[in-house]
Amino acid sequence: MASSTSCLLSWLVFLPLLWALVGLCIPTNTASGLKLSKLSALIGSLVTFAVSICVYQQFDPASAQAQLAENHAWIPSLGVGYRLGIDGISLWLVLLTTFLTPIVILSSWESVEKKVKAYYALILALETAMLGTFLAMDAFLFYTFWEAMLIPMYFLVGIWGGKERIYAAMKLFLYTMAGSLLMLVAIFYLAYQYKLQTGLGYSMYLPDLYMVKIPSGGYLAPQSLLFLAFTIAFAIKVPLFPLHTWLPDAHVQAPTAGSVILAGVLLKMGGYGLIRFVLPLFPDAVRLYQTPMLVLGTVAITYGALIAWVQTDVKKLVAYSSVSHMGYVVLGIFALNPTGMTGAVYQMLCHGISTSGLFLLVGMIYDRRHTREMSDFGGISKVMPLFAIAFMIILLSSAALPGTNGFIGEFMILLGLWQTSQVLAAFAALGVILGAVYLLFMFQKVMLGPVTGDENKRLKDLSLREVAVLVPLLIAVFWMGFNPGFWFKKMQTSIDASLVPYSQSAVASSNAEKVGTPWNP
């Protein structure tokens, strides 16, 4: 792949950061200055979104190659380069990021009162790190952005979070860090192996690393160990059961914007990492560990859903629902067939929309009542009818009702998984029931019944700004629900390419199934 002359991707990645630096210069000791700094952040994020639309338009869906690539030397002695590129999978995650950031900024408009300037600067800086992670075509650069994300996130939780924010921020930081250190070691090993096998020197360039041959065979062979090093790092991020316990704490303590970014984008890094690194690098280990991973994903779905059901804190409920929903993503990826993989990528986008929506909605009533206990609410539908409509639509998307985006993702994942293991698919599909259970329990406790308490009776319905925050998400719910082809057509080639190492076995196993008994995995 030759490096192109365009530097569109660099602009995309660093625009938010530059904008944040400029925004820091705005004096905010006056009310108008304060407003200007918010406005500047919002405009910055919108401009970034516009740039990402340009990227979308230049993207050629027919090619599986990394596009709009940029390739510059960075640390040549270690084979590290500044290499960016985009394919049909990262394209949509990039758009998800740039789409959610303005929404997040607008949602914080009134709820963030302290250190306003720093807050928006951090969100924009975080956007740069997220975009960089999705666009990096160099393992070291990926790692750099990956870790860089933690810094703004740490401060967002630690400064603007709830009562236990310091604990939660620390846990988030250390937990993720511990996982990624394993990944760093594995990256170095790969770069070293590349040098050994080619005699060309180190390389961290992804397509180079894909060519490295790593001995496999057995659960503790080098390939398996490397697989585990990467997979644990990504599984923490997903988060995959049993590596999920940082998530409820982080979500509950994070400010609304932090939760939205965390659930909407950061968790997707895990799924993205599995597709970008683990699948192409370690095909033998992936096949070896396929069943354990599928079992963990299935467990995550039911486990997360069951625990969500008994929560009393709305935000914690949504956090555990993420554990459940992201379990589907792991299943789709490790089903190792195009249907499941397409579903997994789609589910990441859908979860980005629906869970962000849920966190935004929870944030809106938190702003009004400063409580997240479900028992403090009741009958809110009566006093906030518009809020009720929005809540219901997002809830249906989360419950994967056909016609909403959630259905397409779950349907394709389960169908893909069915082709791999019918038993596991049947168990995973329990999430269809349990999802409805916890979501409807939540809806009833918060929204239905008689209006309880004077404070609830006085609640104001959505403001125009809040409507503006939610409407893009609501549109996305139905657009993605009825026209998934719009998304599929740009990702198809890349998904097929990512499954090339598995195509043979996929064909073989699906053939085997047709003659075999239907209930054997």
Binding site: I307, T339, L396, L401, P402, W418, Q419, A425, Q444
Partner: protein, 663 residues
């Protein structure tokens, strides 16, 4: 025009819905029911006209050309998975469309009167329209996923409408229960779809029909497919074991019960089985299960209906029971008879429900039949139409209910998939049906009022008290000013009464237009058992009339004099208790599934997640703290220790070198 059938009610939904969101939801005034209901009725009425015109077009065309198809857009397209959003109008779906839009229109009109005093009529009519749109998608969908979209959509609307008066926690819970129980069924539906797709590679009905013929598949797979889909049917069509949501669903406004929980949505399961009859026909085992579950549900629900005192609950269990009949028909391979009963049942049950609604409306929200009586004089028009519905469901010839039910009983007896046992259960259910419906009718309309009749001058005072939670208190103090319902409510009832009376004509045995019409789309009618003689049919028909008369007579003997009824009740006290508590099925599920699952979830959370998994994580953190502390204790500033360690190190290096030298 085909696309307009579901689109029109959808447009109605969008008009009322957005009007509500921009108006009342933002603090504006409520729009009167006549306006909101007018829009909603106009759209569903127009949809009926479209359906009727297309139906006439089908009637006029050749048998092979009786399928209209339109693809609206490409829904899902990924590799081998191609699901266009296709609507298909054929013999089967045309009938369902006519019932949905026809009965639907009548119920919309009725609702204008019934919901006249509601707080937010726009919301109600928006939901009602949305329901119709989804229901039409369900029956028009050309492939399983499109059908599933409608299937889940009607479930959603059912949820919204059951918990329409959501400020009452019980009503909100009833909606939730309906949705969740239906989701259990949907799981089966989903898995069935997956198995069909992996087996045949397609989900389109037309394609499947061809593939089933050309691709030999093991009987086990076919049975599994059919049973998985049937699990979905037991949810949506309220059969054992998933029927428990339907009686609770009566918490919704009565027109909703009539439309969704009697005439249309609950018959989706029968539609699905008929639509896929070419698959069920290949699996005798699956058919046997369908017939058994259907017959069992019919009998089981009928026993419960005897002991219910809420007028709507009686009708609800009656619906469950009648749906059981329809599945019994499908299970013995008589799909056309099942569809026939869907149609007649839609008429007479919608009539009964709305009749009950009229009674409830006239009685100011009273639903307990023990507190009624003597309404014959106070609500003469409702009495008259209700009587038609009662006789129809009780199976009195020549009303429609008799014709369709008798057909099912005959097929249960005579079909190669049928048996004497199935017939006996069906006949027993028929007797119970005649009995409990007569009980309902007697307690409601005959005898003398068992409530204090208010003076007519109170009428004005009560008339605006129709909101759902008014009335009870008033009744106790001032008596009830019962009034006949307005024309907007009675006229739809009259239309349904006529239909209930004459609809049997489309399915007269041996010259059934319906069977002939449906013949190309359904699996072939089953052969008769060799030992069955044709004369038996007439004997059985006589028996079934006799059964109905006995059931009715028994009810008059017992409930004609309430003292006799009381005596009976005390004589059979323990049975009466079990029946009025619905065989404790809800309690059983609660103790066996809901409570243990909830306890498990709590344990998983409070113990396993917090005390085990997170504890391990945190102790890893603690471990690194402690190892840090351990390492720190080495650097405690003691020079002696440092010197000792230096010496020890030096000696070991020396020792190692010497060791190397000597070896």
């Amino acid at each position: 025009m085909l696309a307009l059938i579901p689109l029109l009610p959808l447009i109605g939904f969008l008009i009322n819905g957005s009007w509500y969101a921009l108006g009342q939801a933002r603090g504006g005034k409520a729009v009167p029911a006549t306006a909101a209901g007018g829009i909603a009725t106009a759209t569903i009425g127009a949809s009926f006209v479209c359906a009727l015109m297309l139906f006439l077009q089908l009637l006029g065309s050749e048998e092979e050309a009786r399928t209209l198809e339109v693809t609206l857009f490409h829904w899902i397209s990924a590799g081998a998975l191609q699901i266009p959003f296709t609507l298909r109008f054929d013999q089967l779906s045309s009938l369902f469309c006519l019932v949905i839009t026809g009965v639907g229109s009548l119920i919309h009109i009725f609702s204008i009167g019934y919901m006249g005093h509601d707080e937010s009529p726009q919301k109600f009519f928006a939901y009602l329209n949305l329901f119709c749109a989804f229901m039409l998608v369900l029956v028009l969908g050309g492939s399983l996923p499109v059908l599933f979209l409608g299937w889940e959509g009607v479930g959603l609307c059912s949820y919204l409408l059951i918990s329409y008066w959501y400020t009452d926690p019980d009503k909100a819970s009833a909606g939730k229960k309906a949705f969740i129980v239906n989701r259990i069924g949907d799981l089966g539906f989903l898995l069935g779809m997956f198995l069909i797709f992996t087996t045949f590679g397609s989900l389109d009905f037309t394609a499947l029909k061809q593939l089933v013929l050309t691709m030999p598949v093991s009987g086990g797979i076919m049975t599994t497919i059919c049973l998985l889909l049937f699990v979905g049917c037991t949810g949506k069509s309220a059969q054992i074991p998933l029927f428990v949501w339907l009686p609770d669903a009566m918490a919704g406004p009565t027109p909703v019960s009539a439309l969704i929980h009697a005439a249309t949505m609950v018959t989706s399961g029968i539609y699905l089985v008929s639509r896929l009859s070419f698959m069920f026909a290949l699996s005798p085992d699956a058919l046997c299960v369908v017939a058994t579950i259907g017959a069992a549900t019919a009998l089981f629900a009928a026993t419960i209906a005897i002991a219910q005192n809420d007028i709507k609950k009686v009708l609800a269990y009656s619906t469950v029971s009648q749906l059981g009949y329809m599945f019994l028909a499908c299970g013995v391979g008589a799909y056309a008879s099942g569809v026939f009963h869907v149609i007649t049942h839609a008429f007479f049950k919608a009539l009964l429900f709305m009749g009950a609604g009229s009674v409830i409306h006239g009685m100011h929200e009273e639903q307990d039949i023990q507190k009624m009586g003597g309404l014959r004089r106070l609500m003469p028009q409702t009495f008259l139409v209700f009587a038609v519905g009662w006789l129809a469901i009780a199976g009195i010839p020549p009303l429609s209910g008799f014709v369709s039910k008798d057909e099912i009983l005959w097929m249960a007896f005579a079909s190669e998939h049928g048996s004497v046992a199935l017939w006996v259960v069906g006949a027993l259910t028929a007797a119970l049906t005649a009995f409990y419906m007569s009980r309902l009718f007697i307690l409601t309309f005959l005898g003398t009022p068992r409530f204090k009749v208010a003076e007519p001058q109170d009428k004005g005072h009560h008339d605006h008290g129709h909101g759902h939670d008014h009335g009870h208190g008033d009744a106790a103090h001032h008596g009830v000013a019962v009034h006949e319902s307005p024309a907007v409510m009675v006229l739809p009832l009259a239309v349904l009464a006529v239909l209930s009376a004459v609809a049997g004509a489309i399915g007269i045995p041996h010259m059934s237009w319906l069977e002939h019409w449906l013949h190309p789309v359904l699996a072939h009618a089953p052969a008769l058992r060799p030992e069955v003689h044709h004369e038996t049919e007439w004997v059985l028909m006589g028996v079934s009339v006799g059964i109905a008369i006995v059931g009715i007579a028994l009810a008059f003997v017992i409930y004609g004099n309430l003292k006799t009824a009381e005596r009976f009740k005390t004589q059979w006290a323990s049975l009466a208790k079990i029946l009025s508590n619905k065989w404790y099925v809800d309690e059983f599920y609660d103790a066996l599934i809901v409570k243990p699952l909830n306890a498990l979830a709590t344990i998983l959370w409070k113990f396993f997640d917090v005390k085990v998994i997170d504890r391990i994580v945190l102790s890893l953190g603690d471990a690194s703290n402690q190892s840090g502390a351990l390492a720190r204790s080495l650097q405690n500033g003691s020079t002696q220790l440092y010197a000792f360690l230096m010496l020890a190190g030096f000696l070991s290096i020396v020792g190692y070198s010497l060791y190397g030298i000597f070896h």
